[in-house]
Amino acid sequence: MGRGEASNRKLVGREEWEKRLTDVKIKKEDMNTIIMNFLVTEGYVEAADTFCKESGTQPGVDLNAITDRMEIRKAVQSGNVDFAVERVNDLSPEILEEKQELYFHLQQQRLIELIRLGKTEEALEFAQDILAPQGEENPEFLEELERTVALLAFEDTKNSPLADLMDIAQRQKTASELNAAILSTQCQEKEPQLLNFLRMVIWAQQQLGEKVDFPRINDLTSAALADNAN
């Protein structure tokens, strides 16, 4: 601590924060916009369409134009990686040529799906013939490759230390990465504003935490206020 530095951490208690929270006015239209932007950017056409009809919020883009993107996303989310890769290559073949990491993640997902289906032999073959060479070319993929292949060693993958790979969230992650890649070739926003917003909340809490003791929101899903740090 240098001369001229503030030494007292300011304290804002939970009760005061709660009270101030109730005084903040947020427009419903703003919330609708941020939700709609999420649905559209992530390619959830049906949900966006329903939300548009029910809340009167305009999607801001032609929903038909994102149908391709949606189909591809749906394919990954339902475990049909082959179909997704095929469709992406129809749409713009350069995407997978240029983005090696994305291509690797898709192949990794393919392996996970094979394991999920219990096609152990096919999975092993796929890992040796397709994935391993990619890992050799790109050492940065090796660790992930090894983790994924290790799934083969567990009978009950869902209760293994590698269970996260089998989770639906892993499909979402791969689907989102692919979706973002397609969007960037179409010069559209890659990421939903909601994601930027959540990042900003986390970042701002870190920044403020350096100088102020205040109640944080740690669980973004419930948005419940946690107790002050000390």
Partner: protein, 426 residues
Amino acid sequence: MPPSRYPAPSTWSRSLRGSASNANFLSVTGLGVKYTGPGQEDAQAASIRADHPVPADCGLYMYEVKIISSGKHGFIGVGYAAPDVALDRLPGWDGHSYGYHGDDGFAFTSNAGKGQNYGPTYKDGDVIGAVLNKAQRTISFTKNGMELGVAFSNVSEEVLYPIVGMRTPNEQILANFGSSEFISDLRGLQDDAAKQIQSQLQAVSVPTKGKAGSLMGELAFNYMLHEGLLDSAAAVARDVLGDVVQVTDQDRQQQQAQHSIQAAVEAGDVDEALRLTEAAAPGLLTTEPPLHISFQLKVLKFIELVRGKQDEAAMAYGRAELSKAAASLPDQEELQDALSLLAYDVPEASPCGNLLSPSHRAHLASSLTSAISVRQGRPAQSAIHRLLCHSVLLSEELTAIDSPAASLINMKDRLAEITNGPAPFQ
């Protein structure tokens, strides 16, 4: 960056130069400073500070110094110093003092006496820019507009003044605190600093593994459920969340009830709204002490009577119910506003005409449904709503503590942009 709340350095401070013994070694003319002392030894150095420190809420600050003359040896230092740094030394010869020196191009800080090899030397005609990046806690310099890179990092002092010092005869400089155009691209430096924050922001990892697999999908689902947009919620559950969550019959019933109450309030049918509320949340409106919302509903009923030109009934209701209910309020203003409507032929056009507007009723309807939610043991607001409120407070607090990073990226405007859809980063 938003405008600062603090005065910025604007000129040299005549009272803050040299020490008692060598204050007169510097002759100051406006923004110009010339060394007029003997300049024989280090003890005869003299520095001068600006009138104000760098504004606390300024994310990136710069001033420039033009070397008019290198004098005898060009022992000139340009930089920043904390308030209590002695001024009979060159910038950087003490702790809490930072200086870039013209004769050797070294960067000095602390009293170890040794500088670090930093940049080129500078002399007559050169313009040196001293850049303080409060967000990254660094000081860097420019020479004739060219960026020389970071000279000092971990600059922890909260208060720093622009400072220049000289030590041999006829050394002379002219400062520019922004009253004339800078040689260096300040705007570009600020943009770079903002981009640096932006990339730090971009690197923040958001936990995506909510219990249903997608945090954002869950937030959307929760919002729609909360707003009674059940078809949308069902679509999100299916489309985004892979049916891990579902819209239940209970959700539908609750939504139906809330919708009817909302509709009744928005139609001004207060009696119906009260009846439905009592059914959905028994005792909510008759609690002791009475909720503000029950008073507001009574006011609404009164207003509807006024709107229907039933002035006598309105008056009677006002006497019987309103004045009694208002007794428990902290102030009587709301009551007076409502009663004042009686005095106008065209109440809609009166100063309190907004009480008759649909938006007033819509607001009341949403307060009422929130209160019912809470009564039923559910959160008053959706999670996304709470997060947005929370972010507004975070932004206010960051402004209050003069966060340089929040100021560099203009957090308040950014938050506004987020809800206004796509906005390219500037």
